[in-house]
């Protein structure tokens, strides 16, 4: 019997705050340590090891050291690009790790006569055969699935694993309904295990001819939605899978690196002063020591503006209680004094997308594409690209050129 680990969506470097970065790395290290201690034969990371294609060097250094531990013990790490650590314009950190022999990128192939032919990588010890398709920006990987030559992949014998970083429509959770996805039928049939990444949900499902489609979900958290789910006790972790010629057992390994405190506060009909008093009282009573505190406010204020609530003070009170980190979500908090657009959304990106959707109709442009759903997508991607901070040691000029190049690509305009 052999054993492998299936990890996904580590998003190392996603959080800016040092305490959260530390926890991201800790979750990753803990996972690799568990893999080593449990004696896995190989590790699959199905995309988004890092949150960007050129992440912070401290994060890379920490991750590389831990991966080296595994590789030195004879545990190969097989990876595909995720949607975050893939670079459409240049080299990704994944390529560097691949070149350095720390990871083995799978899914090599070529397009011939309009068909994509993928090659298998055979794990030397277990003889498991791995192939897959990496994520690409803007759903380009969908094109690859469309032209994928399935017949050859399906005809291959042995224990086979297909690694991918794409949401499957039939398994798409309701709260991710607007996320791009592909149908299950695009995956080649007859593999023993489909190692997925991308949705931040823990999913184990099967369909006819697809015995195990597995998404482990993230190891830690990259945004408010992830934090909120973790705080609501949604388990984070990865899978350890036992197999011989078939899957024997799959086991979820929880990875917990901190405790959470979550408070939902309905501010409807209350004044900023009342809210301050309520929250102060609640936070002072709560045990917040070494916890990530999530405060989620919603509702329409009876009077005043949302900015009248002194969130700096609330934040300070929480930190004074010994909290590790505090996140205050007030996107659903509104005031009568503003003719604001109300949108509901689970995280910043979803809310931004909805705000674009709501506003784009009133924008007068000559190109109708810009006011279509495609325009919304373009605006969201542009915002995301423009928000990307400079890398450490990146010159101003390089930064400018990188952002400019990404923006032009998103807008579909030629360089120069």
């Amino acid at each position: 019997m052999y054993r492998f680990a299936h990890i996904a969506d580590c998003h190392l470097g996603a959080n800016r705050e040092p305490e959260l970065r530390q926890l991201e790395v800790e979750a990753f290290k803990k996972s690799i340590d568990t893999c080593i201690s449990r004696g896995v034969d190989f590790i699959i990371i199905s995309g988004d090891i890092f949150h960007s294609n050129l992440p912070d060097m401290w994060v890379v250094n920490e991750a590389v050291r831990k991966m080296r531990d595994a590789v030195d013990k004879g545990i190969p790490i097989y990876v595909v690009y995720g949607s975050h650590d893939y670079s459409p314009t240049g080299t990704s950190i994944i390529d560097i790790l691949d070149s350095a022999g720390l990871v083995k990128r799978i899914g090599a192939g070529e397009v011939k006569d309009g068909k994509l032919f993928l090659k298998f990588v055979e794990d030397p010890k277990t003889k498991a055969k791995l192939t897959g398709i990496s994520a690409r920006k803007l759903g380009i990987e969908k094109e690859y699935y469309k032209i994928l030559n399935r017949e050859l992949l399906e005809a291959e014998t042995g224990f086979k694993i297909f690694v991918f970083h794409t949401m499957l429509s039939e398994l798409k959770p309701a709260d991710l309904a607007k996320t791009d996805s592909i149908p299950v039928s695009y995956l080649p049939v007859g593999f023993n295990y489909y190692a997925g990444g991308h949705p931040h949900k823990n999913i184990v499902e099967n369909f006819k001819n697809y015995p195990y489609i597995v998404y482990p979900g993230p190891l830690f958290a990259k945004d408010s939605k992830d934090f909120e789910e973790a705080a609501k006790d949604v388990k984070r972790g990865f899978y350890i899978v036992d197999f011989d010629s078939q899957i024997i057992n799959i086991e979820f390994i929880e990875v917990k690196v901190c405790d959470y405190y979550f408070e939902e506060y309905d501010a409807s009909g209350k004044s900023p002063a009342q809210i301050m008093n309520d929250l102060t009282e609640r936070m002072k009573k709560a045990d917040l020591t070494n916890k990530i505190v999530l405060l989620k406010l919603s509702g329409e204020l009876a009077s005043g503006k949302t900015s009248d609530i002194d969130f700096t003070t609330i934040r300070r009170i929480i930190m004074d209680q010994g909290a590790l980190h505090v996140r205050i979500n007030r996107y659903a908090l509104t005031s009568k004094e503003y003719a604001s657009i109300r949108v509901k959304g689970g995280d910043v990106h979803e809310i931004e997308e909805k705000i674009f959707e709501e506003n784009i109709r009133s924008v007068k442009v000559s190109n109708p594409k810009l006011t279509s759903p495609e325009g919304v997508k373009m605006a969201v991607n542009l915002l995301k690209a423009l928000r990307d901070p400079p890398k450490i040691n990146e010159s101003k000029e390089d930064y400018f050129n990188r952002i400019r190049s990404q923006a032009l690509k998103i807008l579909g305009l030629p360089e120069g």
Partner: protein, 514 residues
């Protein structure tokens, strides 16, 4: 002018022609009388013999021939072409003056000569901006090289009904129409395909359209082809009102459902099946009521609760952990102007009806919202193709109360949502709904009762066309619509022939792969 006949009498709506010898006028033929400043277009609806010789003499002539006297004596009539002829009964369908079509309000000139119609006579039939192709103009059984297009947005929002008996080409017609809609992105069409015949799993179909990758979405309860979706809907997508018109619940059962839905929201079905009572409902819901509800939901949804208190599904369509965004995805696709085919050929009637109701309700709710928010103008028209339409808009179904389809039939046009109802039994659809179906694409039908129902609610006066409808061959149709100037006879091309030169080219373009 190649004269085929001459007006010899009659009245408005029943003009009598004498056929020229050597010509063969057919039922449904379109004939033209040229007049100063324009022309009158007439259509044949009946034919009869005419003769200058008294009937008793004709009977004698026939007898002599039949008994063998004709071979020994010359019994041929002198000037037979003058003495015997065919009388055609026609109605004036259109008067065209200076290229402008009008409803005829006077008779063509007495003894005026008639010729066959030519495509140029109908130059006013232009191609609309957002067309639906339905076939080529037909005169009798002769096909003219004039493609007939309907105005897509008008026709689809005001509902279409396609009545015909089996084997007359309903599915072929719908495939041809959908193919032309796939050339554009102005229409979202939901096809509840109970025979799995539109996608083309086993032969040509809409999947062969060059834009199928972008414009066609296929869901099936069986193993989907590459790119197709498994039809799986999460139980939480089902609302109590979806059962309206599908299943009848007693007052006690309805009250129980209301309580469950109020307490458990979208988990109401799961909680009923798992026997978990809402808070405070212990004395309000009798165990017997709950047991019956459980049984009925098990039957409708193909699910039961196991002894381990887990839901076990014995049909592949509903699930408690898959298909959470299926309804949303389908309606999104429709909003993007795509054709969505739901293959329901392998699922039970009740499941098929329920799926239709769930999706159509979501479409209708969204479009109602868009009207309210002022976004409706930017949305494509959505048409819902329902086969065997009486299952959802039949008299006996609607006697149990309104459902989403009857609501769409009544109010859909205000929200850019329309029905395309296909049926063999028009007579069981209530009159008010038939009257709301403003376009009728009538295929052949032998049943007089069905023809009468169609004729009674046709936008043009077809009261004399019962025989013509009965005589329509496979692929021949009459389009009677509020959006056409007259009831247009068409010949629908065979789908496979029609698409022959329009098929998707196999792409050999190599895209970069990294």
């Amino acid at each position: 002018m190649d004269v085929v006949g001459s007006v010899i009498g009659g009245s408005i709506g029943k003009i009598i022609l004498r056929q020229k010898s050597g010509e063969r006028i057919e039922l449904g033929d379109l004939l033209v009388a040229e007049e100063a400043g324009g022309l009158v277009i007439m259509q044949v609806y009946d034919l009869a013999y005419g003769s200058q010789i008294p009937l008793t003499n004709i009977e004698m002539i026939a007898g002599l021939r039949l008994e063998g006297y004709g071979e020994r004596s010359d019994l041929n009539l002198i000037d037979a072409e003058l003495r015997h002829y065919v009388i055609a009964f026609v109605k004036a369908v259109l008067r065209v003056e200076n290229g402008v079509p009008r409803i005829p309000k006077n008779l063509p000139s007495f003894l005026s000569s008639l010729r066959r119609i030519k495509p140029e006579d109908l130059s006013f039939l232009t191609k609309p901006a957002k067309p639906i192709y339905v076939g080529n103009l037909r005169s009798g059984s002769k096909v003219l090289g004039l493609p007939i297009y309907l105005d897509g947005p008008e026709v689809l929002t005001h509902h279409v009904i396609i009545p015909a008996t089996t084997g007359r080409g309903k599915s072929n017609l719908v495939k041809v129409m959908l193919w032309s809609l796939m050339d554009q992105d102005s229409f979202g069409v939901l096809v509840l395909d109970s025979h799995d015949e539109y996608y083309g799993r086993h032969g040509r179909g809409l999947k062969d359209h060059p834009d199928a990758d972008d414009r066609l979405v296929y869901y099936t309860s069986t193993t989907p082809p590459s790119g197709g979706f498994s039809l799986i809907i999460d139980l939480e997508s089902i609302k109590p009102f979806h059962f309206n018109g599908i299943a009848e619940f007693s007052d006690a059962q309805s009250d129980a459902i209301y309580m469950y839905n109020t307490s458990f929201k979208e988990k109401w079905i799961e909680k009923i099946l798992k026997n978990e009572l809402p808070e405070g409902a212990e004395n309000k819901i009798k165990p017997g009521t709950l047991a019956v509800l459980q049984r009925r939901l098990e039957h409708f949804l193909g699910v039961r609760c196991t002894e381990e208190n887990k839901l076990e599904f014995f049909n592949s369509v509903f699930s408690d952990n898959k298909g959470q965004s299926t309804v949303n995805d389908i309606v999104d696709s429709l909003e993007e102007g795509k054709i969505v085919i739901i293959d329901t050929s392998r699922i039970s009637d009740i499941t098929e009806l329920l799926i239709g109701v769930i999706i159509v309700s979501e479409v209708f709710q969204r479009y109602q919202k868009y009207k309210y928010t002022g976004e409706l103008d930017s949305k494509p028209v959505i048409s819902i193709v329902i086969e065997e339409a009486p299952r959802v808009i039949g008299e006996d179904v609607l006697d149990r109360g309104d459902n989403i389809y009857s609501t769409v039939a009544r109010e859909g046009r205000k929200f850019k949502v329309g029905l395309m109802a296909i049926t063999q039994l028009t007579s069981v659809i209530p009159g008010p709904i038939l009257a709301n179906m403003n376009t009728k694409i009538i295929l052949g039908n032998e049943m007089a009762a069905e023809r009468n129902a169609i004729i009674a609610f046709a936008p043009q006066d077809l009261s004399d066309d019962s025989q013509t409808i009965a005589s329509l061959d496979k692929g021949e149709a009459i389009i009677s619509s509020n959006f056409t100037k007259f009831a247009i006879p068409v010949k629908i091309p065979l789908f496979e022939e029609y698409i022959k030169d329009k098929l998707a080219k196999t792409s050999s373009k190599d895209i970069a792969y990294l």
